[in-house]
Symmetry: C2
Subunit: 323 residues, 2 copies
């Protein structure tokens, strides 16, 4: 099959072997896939992953131990878990100690004609969610995780709340929409006027980073920048006893002074994968606009070029089509 | 008066001017004071402080706008606050935007014969708390702050809890005792067998760092190490969705990779000053042993040497006496 493979370098492989059959897995024929910043980070060494990239997708089920799934259009959760370790048994299966992760750790991804996943990972799509929307289910679920984690936080129940989403990228715009829908008075702070202008159509406030003066006055800052500089800025923006939600995994080792966390008694909460059901429902009910985030559509054969496109600061989502 | 002064270098000054009178302030004659790691950090440049060091003390009130305080034996809170800013008005006065901090920021400290503090900062001591115990009120209050912050945390209410205090220093041993008293099944992990052996008399479990293998299995890790290496270890010890309480302010800029916070969805909460009332009550009721933490007692004139002593890894609290 055709596939986009990272093995020290990134290349398109026109003759990659099809996924081997595995007990319990469903075979998926990928319709299209989305390029995420994590894919880009992997090509810089993150997770030491080698293999087929990609974890945001919509596919048709070719074969499955669950007969009801065959022929269905699906999306899929990315953590492949053991179901037996202490974390799985305590309800934290997305943190399974023996997990592999689609296109990220020990499991080939979806930038290919075919992929495989356990049937339990798959979610049927209603006809009200089209293929473009479906590619956003995984990152949108990750955005919903922020709301889920904020739900139990005392920082949220203290009356007045100022919430900043830091970062005008793919994930930041999803998080901003989800927080707005959940009733948070959110604004987006970013570096790119042309991207920030999208916020207008969503009636979400936005500010250019160059125009703000961090004043330790935000109740919650969601850091979607993926850079240590972003985290340092978040520490300057959040109020004493405020909360930083750390959303992006691409923190390279960099000089970081954490003393502000202690002096200002700041809370930080790391946030990763989230609930697919809520993401699918929100897309089905048109509560979140993802169409505006699609910058370009390219064929799998153009995968190397597509990854370069996705790395450009002015570009949002690049979609890879398989046919 | 005599004083221990930091102004690029540390020196004993036998003829430092007495504190100037200030409206609202009480004049204090210091009985004795404790050396804290923050004092040591200041001599390495932390907070860019210049002046008389020291913020852990017991004193007699010489004069005060509050007549009832005159002649009384007191301890004092270290944040000198405006009472008018948004943070003061919202109950977060320890985070006052205009604050100065005793011996730490814009306010001379207590390694001297005399010091001054607003009357509102002072707490009367019962006769059941002796001068040695009194010197521990401030750091013990900081230890109580950990319990206070854990009180509202869902991480705590999830049944089984494994709690590690990381660091066998002055603060770590106070935090461990307070957590044990609050019902947490705590153990201390540190580098120094001779210091860890103190835990036996408190019936608190302890382990040598060299003997443990971090396994992402602790529900809560309280990092009292004051080093980036300690924080990295805390990220390896805490379970997915667990909590790190960051207790020490002495984080110099160092390479730090925060990706584990996101991947494991770890929460971090910074923790600084705490409730004096609870610390005084605990000492009065002999619920916390501080006498065992006193390594040495030295005179103010020996202050430079005393600071060198306090910096040694095998030394716990060094007390400076003023007479």
């Amino acid at each position: 099959m055709r596939a986009l493979v990272f093995d020290k370098t990134l290349s398109f492989d026109p003759r990659r072997p099809d996924p081997p059959p595995a007990a319990g897995d469903s075979l998926l024929k990928i319709r299209q896939a989305g390029i995420c910043s994590t894919d880009l980070e992997i090509t810089h060494g993150y997770m030491q992953f080698r293999g087929i990239l990609g974890h945001e997708f919509v596919a048709d089920v070719v074969s499955s131990p669950n007969r009801d799934l065959v022929g269905q259009r699906v999306v899929g959760e990315i953590n492949i878990v053991c179901g037996r370790c202490d974390l799985c048994l305590s309800g934290l299966s997305s943190h399974c100690r023996a997990r592999s992760v689609l296109g990220i750790a020990n499991h080939d991804g979806v930038f290919a004609e075919f992929a495989r996943l356990p049937a339990a990972n798959l979610h049927l799509l209603p006809s009200t969610v089209d293929d473009d929307q479906a590619v956003f289910v995984e990152p949108l679920a990750a955005a919903f995780q922020v709301v889920k984690q904020l739900g139990n936080r005392s920082a949220v129940s203290e009356g007045r709340r100022w919430v900043t989403v830091l970062g005008d990228g793919r994930l930041g715009f999803l998080v901003a929409q989800v927080l707005r829908n959940a009733g948070f008075p959110v604004r987006v702070v970013g570096k790119h006027p042309e991207k920030l202008s999208i916020c207008e159509k969503w009636s979400i406030r936005s500010r250019l980073l160059a125009d703000i003066d961090p004043r330790h006055d935000q109740d919650i800052v969601v850091d979607c920048t993926g850079s240590p500089a972003g985290f340092e800025l978040a520490m300057q923006m959040v109020r004493p006893r405020g909360l930083i939600v750390l959303k992006s995994t691409m923190y390279a080792g960099k000089q970081l002074n954490l003393a502000p966390l202690v002096v200002d008694e700041i809370s930080v909460i790391g946030s990763r994968c989230g609930p697919f059901r809520e993401a699918i429902a929100a897309l089905s009910q048109k509560q979140v606009d993802v169409a505006s985030l699609i910058s370009r559509r390219m064929r799998l054969e153009q995968g190397v070029e597509a990854m370069n496109w996705a790395a450009m600061p002015q570009v949002l989502k690049v979609i890879l089509t398989m046919d």
